[in-house]
Subunit: 388 residues, 2 copies
Amino acid sequence: MKVKLTGDQALIKKMNTRIVLDCILNEEPISRAKIAKKTGLNKATVSSLVQDLIDNHLVIEGGTGESSGGRKPVILHFNHHAGYAIGIDLGVNYIHGILTDLHGNVLIERQESLKVRDHHTVLASLRLLIDTIGKQVPKSPYGLVGIGIGVPGIVDEKGTVLFAPNLNWHQLDLRSELETRYKVQVTIENEANAGALGEQKYGAGQNVANLIYISAGIGIGTGLILNNELYKGSSGFSGELGHMTVDLNGKVCSCGNRGCWELYASEQALLEGALPFGFENLEQLLAAADKGDKKMIALLEDTAKLLGAGAANIANIFNPDLIIVGNRITKAAKWMDTIVSQTTKQRALPHNREHLAVRFAALGESSAVRGAAYAAIESFLLQNETAE
Amino acid sequence: MKVKLTGDQALIKKMNTRIVLDCILNEEPISRAKIAKKTGLNKATVSSLVQDLIDNHLVIEGGTGESSGGRKPVILHFNHHAGYAIGIDLGVNYIHGILTDLHGNVLIERQESLKVRDHHTVLASLRLLIDTIGKQVPKSPYGLVGIGIGVPGIVDEKGTVLFAPNLNWHQLDLRSELETRYKVQVTIENEANAGALGEQKYGAGQNVANLIYISAGIGIGTGLILNNELYKGSSGFSGELGHMTVDLNGKVCSCGNRGCWELYASEQALLEGALPFGFENLEQLLAAADKGDKKMIALLEDTAKLLGAGAANIANIFNPDLIIVGNRITKAAKWMDTIVSQTTKQRALPHNREHLAVRFAALGESSAVRGAAYAAIESFLLQNETAE
DNA sequence: CTTCTTTGTTTATACAAAAAACAAACTAAG
DNA sequence: CTTAGTTTGTTTTTTGTATAAACAAAGAAG
């Protein structure tokens, strides 16, 4: 109950340090003088904060720049080799892991398929993957700074996986499990939230304050970034737009309801439409479309329209700057993207479509891993600033 | 571009002053010592900030309280008579105005019906109403501190009414119009947002961080309070859930789309269903239901189910603590509330319905006026703290 | 009557940001 | 080459905030 969030000088320093670091991250290479101008902070303040960041190995000086009529500036860089992060995308039938530097650049990438889904087996594979990647972390001031994981299920604020339907997991305290083993900060995110983060930081949504990421795989989940922050609802269960009713008397869904959006616009919907024609997975379906199969192309286009209808709802609900369609369905971008975008804008209210963009994920199927790694990096930077 | 939101000591003081004032507002009567314990601030800091608030007439000392084994505490009160606010709900066929103290207590209330809706006539009536109420503001340190207005339309951050379909207004700069005339701060909010604020501060949603207010009148609008803040989207057009598609191939809506929720669950939907039986407005319909008219009762119940279906979508999208149904439809609460609540919980996902409450507005048709007044008060308090 | 508590103020200290002065390094004009 | 002016970044001083410690006042409890 007693939450201490009162202001004192430490808080101010933390805020301003963060502002300076963000400025360097976004505008590098940059000099101290320019940071002062950009942020409105005093030159002396910037000098002092930058010195702290240099002492903490997060910023490095990189020689002198061009003079603009006076003394040459000292160029500052974010030291993205100060530490490294591991990002994991725990899929329903694969584990995808990457090692990144603090800028999110991918250094190592590994993917393994999952046959069995009980949590013992999956955890064993997960540990093996992390061990393998962890051994390759380059020598650096901080070494491995954190592990971020995206999971296909509902996660609470303590990093417990409450429920993952497709893995049949219940109440698995993944964070503390891994933190005890690896002694680094672990962040657990829902897969759609991770995807939203990945696209906002490294993909199609850079510098966009309000964006909705539609993760269309077997089902549909969404990641909501509102006012530059992930919105998680009061218990972390927000974004279940896959179970938004779009057809009052429509198909019966496994959730017990009728007419859920994901029955019409997900990979599952595509597969159901393709099965009568003998195609058993998305890859086969797309190969056929590639060869000019009219029925499959029509199926893709119809699904795109239904995806757009739901996206229009999203536009009217959230009035975002950007809607990003991601996950498995990005494989079908070629056939779907213009139709999704058109249908969305057709169906959304005039004011809402005005500044709206609808795009497919720039990172393809890597949105979630990248976002997971980002979450780990972010958590490290936040913690690091707090320390004196 | 150059936004100065860096931290300095003034910011600390502002933050802490706000914390102290909020503490007094919520816990009054309270002593300085208790504020220090509650907030974690130092006793000396609290004393100093309280003195400033007293100097600004926002807090008053009110004698001594009971000792708990030592010196008697000095009781502090929020001085809700330091100033007064006017709240206006600009309806489609009425203007509803109130005068409140700084606690939001209603002192004076006036309602007038509107026959003509062009903005000249409406503005004239509005000015007359404000003039009348304004004359009755009691003598006080600040007098009239602000005017808050809820309008049935889309409002941007500058207080311009971009579009109000039912009044046929376009691009009306209401805020600057009224600010030049009355020389006080004017806040303009969408009617649903105002209603959400009213219910959160004075009605069914007190101390709830995530709530969705469904304003069901002729159409349906919603006010979204997420993480204790009104979410307005990137251009202020969020919350148009009335035009959420709930029936892919359903009725054609005036917005050009099909199957919009408000066609099924608004006052308009009720009236359409009642017209064939000779009832021309909501009051007649409800009078019939009161006399036991089976058809009208069935109509109300069916509409309640459709309202619940949309509310379930809201639960799945936002995972809120509370959904409040307000505006005109509250008149029908007697027949609808349990059904709306039941249907919502039936259709929402298990995790989302767990901590969810669904209620009708506690303030009935006054949610929006009260919220409009609150917006004015809040804006005054924020500004007042900034001043030294 | 004495001791302990509680409340609130006063005094001294720590610390962050900012202003001002300054030093260094450079450009450009004559 | 010299000089004036500019840009960058540091050092010094000032201001303003929170906090800790000491203190004063007022009461409770034995």
